[in-house]
Symmetry: C2
Subunit: 451 residues, 2 copies
């Protein structure tokens, strides 16, 4: 068994794919099928507990399309598989993605059947990219969409991402910290996300630190000596007793006491927050904030906020990190046009809208009221969401975004959604998404051709 | 925003951690706290839909402990965070993991509160490793535990992993393919898992390939010319019509027809399999196997198998890949001893068993009947599950395993579990896990010391 840690090296990137992408690529190549294809990446339907999705993952999709190459190591491995011809393996060495990409920018709310991105390229190039593009856009959209609900529930209170230890692998932890920040989460415990993306990093202390001292107050005193403005974890033995030890420490330190917060991590967080606030206030420590964590999701946060509990910020881990109520989307990457003709499939429950498309978002009084999915060349009222981000395999300025800009976009775009769509309960009625008459006609015609 | 693709490079490995691990590490260092700590990684309770967990992830845990270093880049980044002193950053440059590790080997069934691994090391070293160890052991155990149920439901039929496109990031897709194979899944579509781990790779064709041709039979003919023994996807337009086109192709090719299978990917798979089998058999194609995929999980597979539907193998994707019914475990990494004294915490619902431990599995007539969690130095009847796999930061022979050996172990160990525990329904009664009298006494004593 190899001993190795990084998930995927640059040299292996092209092997991050389903085997059939490579066998189809070879089949296209041997048949000389290199006409222009359009592939559309979209979600067939929203999970029951999502009123919208927050598109995310475009940055990695474009970085992949720019970088994907077959290294010597990749070619050598493929030779051992026994399915590939020498001329094809030789051709792979010059493989590049040369196509165009249209996409909604990261941080855009999207709905069922709306393309998140569309690839226009020689069919084999677009086919190979399927697995990586889906893998990244899927999870990052899953993560951003969940986080947007948590930020909504927190109603202006701080939210910190604590999820990396139970997310699915290292890539998920890194990409989610970024996606969460785009969705409005303030900071992350994930140091690598700070290094790589500049997401603000934050943290407090663990129970193990408190346990390593014979007395809880000794742990608090020692930690606060090194980190005067820290947040102290008070629930290792008994939460309110822990708060009393913080108050004892304040008495010891007098004016030197600069501790900024206490963290509650178990029990009835709302109840304990009321109790902790009362103790702190009675001791004159009105500036010490209360931070809560432990199994939180958007529903629990909404309940706590509604209770009026004096909690200033939430640490949210596992349930946001794995999006436990909707860990996967019914996302698809489908051929919608080849050689200039719209393509569909007719498998039950899995319809495809043919050709390149555009989504128009109709707004009234600054609020989105409905979307129309149309042919790319239609001119309809409303704001077009898809834009060209890559041409001939090279990123266009519209394909370069900063994290801050994506975060601001998400904030602004979510605020423009109807209130019922922003909320946690299933929107009644759901946000309306129409299909234009011309696109409907194209779909009927494409279906006729294959039946 | 950085443009970069691999999730974590070797140089960044030490930054794959929660910020508090680093602030605690510095606090321990500045206080000269370097006594031996024991940390235990275990699951507090099983998800409702799991009768056991299949331990996985040890390989990456050990590789991390051998490899973790603070690179120049990591130190330079930490300097910018503003929390770390120069002497500490200087000391980090020589940081190595020097401790011992005890673990159950990959592919071992485990239950609530049983240590999957225990780290014995100077407290800071063991603390830093928390995030990575949990991240890897958690997800790989989530994945292996789900896959074991799917393999059980398939009752000897083949199972292929198709999940990489909707798993959470690249690392999940790679590690899960390996974990699934340990749990008994035959092969994966993930080419990179073939390259890195030697997991057998497999694949068929996508709807896009069929759509790119004007007629379905043209797609079949072309693909079978290049891959004579392939499996053809028959549901792009109408499943049974697709089967008829395969039969037409057999007629065209005569003795040259070598297609090994058809794949059904939508609709009522059991019904369609009966219909497809009848058509194929009538045409004399009794050797063409039926492969089914599309939204499968263990319950659906069990239902299909019970129906007697003539399906020879299953492709399982999203629901196995994200373990949709239990995407996270209540896993913890807790300090159980420091400076020779057992440590506990008393937070509600989150008890800790103090000290180093051993798990004894009691068997009767070749079947496991109960486990006992004990102190490490007890000699109880039954087979001890934890073994020393690393000493002084170096792997021992017991810490080196092959993928095949882990897979065989899983098969043998699962077969030794009671039938009710192997099955999909909640085991009644659950598998019994006891705590030894001496460990119980240690826990009471440690709790007394902190109250």
């Amino acid at each position: 068994m190899d001993e190795r840690l990084p998930a995927v090296t640059e040299a292996e990137l092209a092997l991050f794919t389903d085997l059939y992408e490579l066998t189809m690529l070879q089949a296209y190549w041997h048949e000389g099928m290199a006409d222009e294809a359009v592939f559309s990446l979209f979600t067939r339907r929203l999970p029951e507990s999502r009123n919208y999705l927050l598109a995310c993952g475009l940055e990695d999709a474009l970085a992949y399309l720019e970088a994907v190459r077959f290294s010597d190591d990749a070619s050598a491995y493929l030779r051992t598989v026994g399915l590939f011809t020498e001329p094809f393996l030789e051709w792979l060495r010059s493989f590049r993605f040369t196509g165009d990409v249209y996409a909604v920018p990261e941080g855009t709310p999207v709905f069922a059947n709306e393309p998140i991105l569309e690839i226009v390229a020689p069919i084999g190039e677009a086919q190979l990219a399927e697995t990586f593009l889906m893998n990244q856009v899927h999870y990052q959209t899953v993560a951003a969409s969940k986080a947007a609900r948590i930020v909504h529930a927190a109603a202006g209170r701080g939210v910190v991402d604590f999820g990396m230890r139970r997310m699915h692998g290292t890539d998920a932890a890194l990409k989610a910290a970024r996606a969460f920040h785009i969705a409005g989460v303030d900071s992350t415990s994930d140091v690598l996300a700070g290094r790589v993306y500049g997401v603000p990093i934050a943290g407090t202390m663990a129970h193990s630190y408190v346990q390593a001292f014979d007395r809880e107050i000794d742990a608090f005193r020692t930690f606060a000596r090194i980190y005067p403005g820290t947040t102290l974890l008070v629930d290792t033995y008994d939460t309110l007793d822990g708060v009393r030890r913080v108050i004892d420490l304040a008495g010891e330190l007098g004016g030197a006491f600069q501790v900024r917060g206490v963290r509650l991590d178990s029990g009835d967080l709302a109840d304990l927050a009321f109790g902790a606030r009362e103790l702190l206030d009675e001791a004159g420590l009105t500036g010490v904030r209360i931070f809560a964590s432990g199994g939180l999701d958007e529903y629990e946060i909404e309940r706590i906020v509604a209770s009026g509990a004096p909690i200033d910020a939430f640490g949210v881990g596992t349930k946001m990190g794995v999006a436990s109520d909707a860990p996967a989307l019914d996302i698809a990457y489908k051929l919608t046009s080849y050689a200039g003709r719209g393509r569909v499939k007719l498998s039950p429950g899995k319809p495809i809208l043919p050709g390149r498309k555009q989504v128009f978002r109709i707004e009234e009084g600054g609020r989105a009221v409905r979307d129309i999915i149309a042919r790319y060349d239609e001119a309809l009222p409303g704001r077009p969401l898809l834009r060209k981000v890559m041409e001939g395999g090279r990123r266009l300025p519209a394909g370069r975004d900063t994290l801050d800009r994506a975060r601001e976009r998400a904030r602004d775009e979510i605020a423009r959604l109807p209130d019922r769509v922003q909320g946690l309960a299933p929107a009644e009625p759901p946000y309306p998404v129409e299909i234009s008459d011309r696109l409907r006609a194209d779909a009927a015609e494409a279906a006729r051709r294959v039946t």
